[in-house]
Amino acid sequence: MALPWLEAMTPAFAKSSAYLPPKRFVSVSLALGLHSPNLDPIDFGFGYTPSLYLSKIQDILGDMTIVTGSSHPDVSGGHKASGSILTGAPYSRSAVFKNTISIDQHMAKHLGHHTRFPSLVLNLSSSNSPSYTETGSMIPAESSPSKLFDKLFVADTKEEQAQQVERLKEGRSIMDVVAGDAKTLQKSLGAGDRDKMDQYFESVRAFEKRLGASEDWVQMPKPSVAMKPPRDIPDNNEIMKRKKLMLDIMLLALKTDSTRFITLHIDGNGESVPIPGINEGYHSLSHHGLDEDKIDQLTLLESVLLETWGGFVRDLKQNKESSGTLLDQTNVLLTSNLGNASSHDNKNMPVLFAGGGFRHGQHIAFNKEDNYPLPNLFVSALQRQGLETDRFATSTGTMTGLEMI
């Protein structure tokens, strides 16, 4: 098992020049889109005039690119298309939908074995996520910051560790029994069940491996961090506070190399965010029906969303790592399956892409009537990770205009 890459978290470890700093990828996805008149800059290219939302994060515009006029080809269905955000799998309401692997899981599959957690899949309030395995199974998100923090940083007592090892060992034995029985069962069931039983068998084997890796990691000391274990924020309306808290933990997870691939999904339900001026639920505001008052309130809400995301990018920038910053090694995406929540349009998805490896500071404007394939951005992002890919989902190449440096 590869040793985790350790930066100087505690004085006991010296900076190791034998290791190159690893690359990371973070995606923040919104279920309800962003109001494009507030987001899309009017002009394009380098040195564009920041739009209302972008002017709130002026200092990091040089580290990011905004893309307009792009979306996933053959994806429609409004809200229901959220499964395709990170997979780019064609989706329409009526067809039988089989999802494919999401970009973060693709990265985790090839590069995730270096860290305690191959990836983290997070949400602020539910278990919905845009992260899918290669068999098209949605990975349930963790929504409790306290549980997450516990998993990442809280050392278990010797007894707890022993108990965990016991349970994990037994779990592995059980999975071994189950895997064998799955093969037996498959024989007796018949041809129609063959594929599903194969998938099941593969899942059991993968689970066994995970239990084994977890067993190895149980005895490895968890990184120590300055942050105190947080309490979960019980008020569902506090989306912004929850987002900030989750992003803070995510930052630590990246710094300590506990994981390198994180997705955070933000649902949009009836939460009435306690920001002065807002008195309607988030979902209701996003479906403004062109009502000016709702749009005003939505603007307030989304501005804070942007600021918090920008704050995360800024934090990455301010964290030194090796000869650069953490941002140099991390790509951060902000997007949504909805280009317009009020009309449930999946075209013209909002796309902000920040972090090392690319020449930023641009507004890349594609055609709003005839969208550019967003999976191309994913190919660029995969290549940045060092993966030799030239295809992802319905891509046609890397993203035009986004230069890799």
């Binding site: 064998g180 993968a206 317009n340």
Partner: protein, 789 residues
Amino acid sequence: MNRFTLSSVVLALLLPFLGKSETRTTLPSTVVDFLDINCYECHNNTDKKGSLDLESLEFHPDDSQSMVIWSMVHDRVSNREMPPKEEYWPEEEERGDFLNLFENTIHEESSKLQSSLGRVRSRRLNRIEYENTLHDLLGVDIPIKDFLPDDPSQDGFSNIAVSQQISHHLLQKYLEAIDISLDEAFSRAENQSKPYARAFSGEEVSWNPQTRDNGRGPHLYEGHAISFLTSGNYQGRMPPTEVDESGWYRITVRAKAHNPPPGRGVWTQIRSGVAAASAPSLFWVGSFEAREKTQDFILEAWIQAGHKLEMRPGDHTLGTISVKLLDDRSVFEKDVPGVAMESIKMERIYKGMSQNELKRRLYSDVPIKDGVLKSNNPKQDLEKLMTRFAIFAFRRSVSKTEMSPYMEFAHSRLDAGNSLKDALRSGYRALLSSPRFLYFTENTGKLDNFSIASRLSYFLWNTMPDEKLLTLAKKGNLSKPSILKKQVERMLNHPKAESFAVNFSNNWLNLKDIDFTTPDTKLYPEFDDILKHSMLGETFTFMQELIDNDMSVSNFIDSDFAMLNERLAEHYGIEGFSGTGYQKTALNANDHRGGVITHGSVLKVSANGTTTSPVIRGVWLLERILGEHISPPPDNAGSVEPDIRGAISIRDQLDKHRSTKSCMVCHKKIDPPGFALESFDVTGGWRQHYRALPKKGKWKDGPAVDPSYDLPNGKSFSDVEGFKAMVLEHPDKIAKNVVEKVLTYATGASIEFADRREIKQIVKDLEDHEYGFRSLIHACVQSDIFLSK
């Protein structure tokens, strides 16, 4: 011109699937000729009209996508939608011959595949089924589905095998659920649960003017704790009701109405939560209607540790009062409705097995004392108990061979020095991790008795088969039609059958998404949680009524009665309602109700929180109630941006459909039901004007609603009643859809081409029973579709 070449590659791929019969991958030449003459002119590989290239389309019976398209081709010709009338129209005889041969071919191929592979492949327990099964297996009552992610949905149903995926992440979640359940079961089996019962007077839960504690609590007045409907958070909270342990509690409230409005009671809601500024979110416990006479109201709910209860009026039609009136207590001089509580009692209850039942389930007759199993022969007892538990867990008899890997594992735990109890627990853990627990292990062809038992119990009860079903299955009697009929009757009469009315409605009518949107508080201030829960209750009890009395499924379109409670009667504007709870209420023509399509629940889930869309509702009704499949809009359709500023009505915006031929193809089906339902707003309220929001102040009437429609075939209707009458002319079509939906739900697979003939026969036979819903359920259970894989 044979376009479909038999590729040897395709054949090689198909060979593993071939039983004795070969699946054809070519269509008969006469079929191809017909397509060539009548279809290829537009649907060729260059023009691809309507995005359909029939010329290149291959016939792959084993590819469900391919079959969906071929079925559609068949249906278009059968319904005379294609070829379009303006073009060459084939002779009747020619058309008839084509359809016969075409239908026969697709049916044959579809049947062959079903025989060899099955309609339902590797269905597993979904979230609700998983929770219920662990509840019935281990006698626990904890909310297990909270550990599991949502189920994927297909055709509106959340139990469809082909849409279910598996991953190691999901296995992790299952293991967590299993461990929590085993912990709870083993703990309860040996520990005496401390009984918890607390009772409080009105004074004890009220705001204390001396200490100024509990500022948001009810006010003490004439010996009662009185709470009012205000805009303030968690008003009416009662700190003494806070519980230390998560669990089920029975709450008995002794209360009456305070200043009830004339002729009505005061609808009161109870919720639980931390109820503090840091955590104002509250969870629904229940509601009741407080009346002039003091009464006991009993509710049961799961309450989390550290949560307390909040109780107050919840009927928004009564209007909210300002918090100031409470602060200075001047509210008591006003004629404001409230709920006056005399006392409240809370008792911890256990919904699962009793301790003795639990001991029996886990240990059979092996005695347990001070946490230790007293066994004379641990190895033998281990074998006995594991085998016994496996029958319940795997829902069938198990052979020694099938048990051996699990037995070996359990023995290894015993050999490692663990106690019998611990070895047993590990053994049970292994059995519950087995695919034989998680999946429906259904044999190909005619289902064996145990498979029938499982399918039947998950259909009508959403849980594992009970001992009676398992015993009948073991004897091999369950496949006998008369026994099957008796069992269905027994099961429908059992309290567990409530689960069918609820889950079938939640799936079929998508009521599980009732919370997906919240009505805009400015546009619909009268909407409240009590109304929402009442709406759901209306549909569930209506469904139950149709089942209990074998009433015609035409009642889904229109009925002369509705299952209402007072809150609903108020909302729907129906006069003369009396009684408590849900009452079967006779309807008049000007009540504008009747059927399930006018239920508030249905009207809410087919709209968002602000606006209705005739297209969304139209598609919803067509697909769910009339059983018609509608293709998604073409890419260039453009989305309609809803405009609630009141300037332009939705009819104006959608008028484009009427003038564009390619739009009309689908929209002549979609728009009629959609517009008919425009008479109902997003809360299911009847309206003759759309509501609009001015810059400031209350909503006002906007443009008038026009629910009329002129169909291209010359028919027309002026309102929803006219639309319903049109639909009711074809009760067989209504019944066919219900049969399809019930079979989809009952088996865990969508309807395929090969199912059509039997469904047609079922519908024909149901005519003799006036398409009664109960008879329909029986007919579905007796069908080959239900009794085969």
